[in-house]
């Protein structure tokens, strides 16, 4: 009796130990990555990082053009992707709840969600870059939009489904057509959820390298021309980190730290909004 209990206790302790170990390994990896990033990147953090252009090898400079390019293309990408993603998510959640078409869309969307981003880059390269004859910020933004869309579709559908059916029924029973119910009742009720989805999509998009490599490429100089190649943090990091020049490598570390901090900040904000959700939404 006691023996059996001891064996069971031992089994429990082993299972607990193993899962704890796994957790620690995961956390240690993350910690090591962050530590390396901070240790290597922090020394390069300076005002000139935000005020100067990417330098030629051996010169001094910053990342201003890359930061600007990343911001512009992420924002532009979201401007293209968010409306499509939100409307498609609305269709899935409100109009085509159980229809066959919806399950096909949902499946395709999941495929797109997990598609390697380099394929998106190649696709936009074929469709836009080749036809336009040159790399451009617009092509970059389109590639980012294609990555953002499935994220937005998914989060929008999930968030709209959280809105209690009773609330939608009440609006319908008052004689509102579906579109009125969606815009006047469902969107306001799911607003913070949709904003969270937007932030997460931005976070996802702003770290993407592969799709930009084939579309926006890079630019050593300050450029506001959307129809020309544009610098951006991920590609700059990619190129500078692979270079043999010490100062370029330092800039790559600093850029990596910047981008990580930005994504971390976005995720934290998104989490804060999510944790505030139940109070914001009435059940």
């Amino acid at each position: 009796m006691t023996r059996r209990r001891q064996v069971r206790k031992l089994g429990n302790a082993v299972a607990l130990g193993l899962s704890l170990l796994a957790t620690l390994i995961g956390l240690a990896c993350l910690g090591a990555i962050l530590w390396t990033l901070v240790a290597r990147g922090i020394s390069g953090l300076s005002v000139q990082l935000f005020t100067q252009m990417t330098p030629p090898p051996g010169g001094t400079g910053g990342l201003l053009n890359a930061i600007y390019g990343s911001l512009v293309m992420s924002v532009l990408g979201m401007f293209i992707g968010a409306p499509i993603g939100i409307l498609a998510g609305t269709y899935l959640a409100e109009y085509g709840r159980d229809a066959r078409l919806s399950s096909v869309i949902r499946f395709v969307n999941d495929v797109l969600l997990s598609a390697p981003s380099i394929i998106v880059g190649l696709f936009v390269y074929e469709v836009l870059v080749v036809r336009m004859g040159h790399f451009s910020a617009i092509a970059g933004a389109v590639a980012l939009a294609i990555i953002a869309i499935p994220v937005m579709v998914r989060t929008t559908e999930d968030m709209l489904r959280l809105v209690p059916q009773g609330m939608k029924d009440a609006s319908t029973a008052l004689g509102a057509y579906p579109w009125r119910t969606i815009t006047s009742i469902v969107y306001p009720a799911a607003r913070s959820g949709i904003v969270t989805g937007l932030l997460l999509a931005v976070a996802r998009v702003s770290g993407e390298t592969a799709p930009l490599l084939f579309t926006a490429l890079n630019n050593q100089f300050w450029s506001k021309d959307l129809n020309a190649p544009m610098a951006n943090l991920p590609v700059v990091i990619f190129q500078f980190a692979l270079s043999p020049y010490k100062d370029w490598q330092q800039l790559a570390w600093s850029g990596a730290l910047l981008i990580t901090l930005a994504i971390l900040l976005l995720s934290v904000i998104a989490r804060l909004i999510i944790s505030a959700l139940p109070g914001g939404r009435s059940q």
């Binding site: 029924d169 009440a170 609006s171 319908t172 004689g175």
Partner: protein
Amino acid sequence: MSTPGDGIPVQDTAFVSEQKRRAAEGGLNLKPSSRMPAPGSPEPRRAVGAAPAARIEDAVFSCRDVSVLYADKPGLSNVSIDIARQQVLAVIGPSGCGKSTFLRCLNRMNDTIAGARVTGSILLEGRDILGKEQDVAQLRAQVGMVFQKPNPFPKSIFENVAYGPRIHGLARGSADLDDIVCASLRRAGLWNEVKDRLSRPGTSLSGGQQQRLCIARTIAVQPEVILMDEPCSALDPVATARIEDLIDELRASYTIVIVTHSMQQAARVSQRTAYFHLGELIEVGETNRVFTNPRQKLTEDYISGRFG
């Protein structure tokens, strides 16, 4: 007991309804053609003479042979019933008997359920509401609905009530809208409790207040009929009593159909009662009569608490 129309193959619908009328007047049964017998039950309960289609002069709603199929499973079978003006009709019956399904036919809320099909005819003031030409938004403005769980919108108290008038463009200007909101809240007996906090969220109210807010929201569209789907089942006894009093007051201006699980409530608030069982209307009549002298065995069994 045999009925006049029994066994005679009739094609003439006018003849059939004449038969029905006579059967109803005589308190006799016209055996309805049960194309969809409820699953698992043979057919014994139609043996005794029922008069489900008790006719009423100047009815607001008249339903004839209304059936509902949910993805080919019957939800309601051949229900024929008239609903009288400015009265409360209570719809009672055990769970799954089709009472909510019936209620949702009257404002076509069944349209929102995928795979639901409604057949038969439902006349509202003589106009068939099941037809394609019927604008459902306009129908629902005429036939309001209050749900089981209070479900205020995540908006202010004022905006909750103003929502319906806004979508139907009932108010001429904001002063007019203020008047409509105020009048609706008064009628729902909520005005004194909320007049100082109209901008607070509707969800800040108590459950009973929320339900009265939902009633005010329904009234604001100026409906003719108000459907209530177990409006008190989520409320405590005090809040329930208030709603019941309110229903009694509203009867002066509106026709009310209330689905309820509580027979006491049906007896308290209604003038007529309809008893549903397994998707069929078993009996309808004056509430007093149905509760004291049910004509059907099934009704009697349910009322005396033998099942349900």
